[in-house]
């Protein structure tokens, strides 16, 4: 009977310990008080996966993938200091357009980030050594790693199109721009009126004009000719697409 009591006590303590340990993990969650929302648009309208768009060449296409890494994301204070929000975030513009960060309360007037992965992180890396939840891990990168080479795919933009000009035919041709290598890393910066950020939950709104990728007025992309690059086999097209893509970021 005495032994039974001891066992009962032990099991009681065990269960309480299990409960306490699960509480502790919640307690350590960092409070996110600033969000960076990047809304993908096409000529001013929010992009939808189901929509069919038309470029300057009157070629119809659907956007099925629009993802990129943002890295070294900084908020800039009015006194000139900068605060790192996050080393790396992976944006999937057709699914999740907002990332949360934690920042100390202060007055800020700018944001900057890299599009892609900085060279010191990009090469000679084993993604399996990152925690599985990291956007740089094998599982977290979700196909954004070059598997025949080392390094990450900075930006993926692909889907299906029709270049025949015949109205209402199915979009059977694929196009794909998978861009990533050290020379294609770009930085983007925006300033905004000084505002207090951090005391409550703030949202920084940006837009990404995806029409700039294929339908840039000064340099439209002809899908009959320039429909594919995995960077190395057609570096000039990769560079062109990356520059188009980056030019699409703007503050509304």
């Amino acid at each position: 009977m005495e032994a039974q009591k001891i066992v009962n006590k032990f099991l009681g303590v065990l269960l309480v310990a299990v409960a306490l340990s699960s509480c502790r993990s919640e307690d350590t969650t960092v409070c996110e008080n600033v969000k960076l929302m990047i809304t993908p648009t096409y000529h001013g309208n929010v992009v939808s996966e189901d929509s069919v768009y038309r470029n300057n060449f009157q070629q119809r296409f659907r956007i099925e993938t629009a993802r990129c890494y943002l890295s070294s994301i900084y908020l800039h204070k009015t006194n000139g200091d900068s605060v790192l929000l996050k080393e790396v975030a992976l944006y999937n513009f057709l699914a999740q357009v907002s990332e949360g960060f934690s920042v100390t309360s202060d007055t800020y007037n700018g944001i900057s980030f890299g599009v892609g992965i900085p060279a010191n992180v990009n090469k000679n890396v084993d993604p399996s050594t990152y925690p599985n939840a990291s956007p740089l891990s094998v599982q977290g990168s979700n196909g954004m790693f070059w598997y025949w080479n080392t390094g990450y795919i900075f930006m993926k933009f692909d889907g299906h199109c029709d270049t025949t000009g015949v109205a209402n035919v199915d979009l059977l041709q694929s196009y794909a721009y998978h861009v990533g290598d050290d020379p294609l890393y770009r930085r983007v910066a925006f300033s905004f009126p000084a505002q207090s950020i951090g005391s409550g939950v703030s949202t920084i709104q940006l837009q990404l004009a995806l029409d700039s990728v294929l339908d840039k007025q000064a340099d439209p992309v002809d899908l009959r000719v320039d429909f594919l690059t995995h960077t190395t086999a057609n570096f000039p097209l990769a560079e062109r697409i990356m520059n188009h893509f980056v030019s699409g970021f703007h503050m509304p």
């Binding site: 009681g12 084993d126 891990s137 599982q139 196909g143 190395t232």
Partner: protein
Amino acid sequence: MRRLVFIGFVVLLAACAGSTHYKDEVLKFKQPSFFPSLPIPNDNSVSKLKFILGRYLFYDKALSADGSHSCSSCHVLSNAFTDGKTVSVFAHADFPRNAPTLANVGWMPYLMSEGGVPSLELQLLGPVHESHEFASDMQAVLTRLSKKSKYQELSQAAFGRELDAYVFMRAIATFERGFISGDTKFDRSYYYHSNEMNAEELAGMNLFFSERTQCSSCHSLPFFTDFQFYSLGVEDTDLGLERRTYAASDRGKFKTPTLRNIELTGPYMHNGSLNTLAEVVAYMNQGGGHGPNKDPRIQPLYLTELEQTQLIAYLKCLTDWNFVQNADLVEPDDMND
């Protein structure tokens, strides 16, 4: 309180069910004395259970999205881990290539024909994700594999963690490091003076190592490769090393393949364009092809028919019959248990 006791026992039973009967131990591969020490990464020491888990995974068709093929579909032991096809059924449409042998792959300083992948562990990400190979993603592969309790048990016992990408890559890499091939008629004759080679084979060997042919300047001992990149002038659209370096001067250059087990690894060249050893020797005898950046050493050799026959006879002395029948490397009998 009784209810609490019951819940407590359920917790304990669940914990016991997760325990494993596997016991791991250090595994030391037996390697030829004339090979340098097998390089082992700091974060992937070789153990018995890693090897066992890697062996199961290598042969598991659950790796592919449709369950139709595994690593062993293109890397068949009896073909010295090639598939005997011109280019693999699962070859990339833009870069259709012949499946390379995996013999002695543990010594390769970099993988892939253009050498872009620095370790065996990282190389394993390629086939999983490539749409033309396993057409999957790592999470989907792991979800399928995790249904087999033995994988989770082996993973915990060998790596102390659940089966994830880290475990997957390191287990298969450990198995592949065991693909050691260095027991051929040539090895026994050259390194241990066994006198097994006949006059024709010895004549071929002398040609192979001669200044006249310079075969051994790239296919150097002990692996019969110098791991460098050259063009033989093979004419096709594959960029080769240029794909990695962007340099036009690297177009058409590919990593020197090993000649160990060459008798079993045809067709030959990166695109499988030559079917037989006789065709390869004839191709080199004529001075290679007319593709870009051909190495200046690739010149007509003016070998007689007899000399070509001798050279082929020698190349057949590089077959390791024990390797291609190694029972430790075949598909496990209990693969589907």
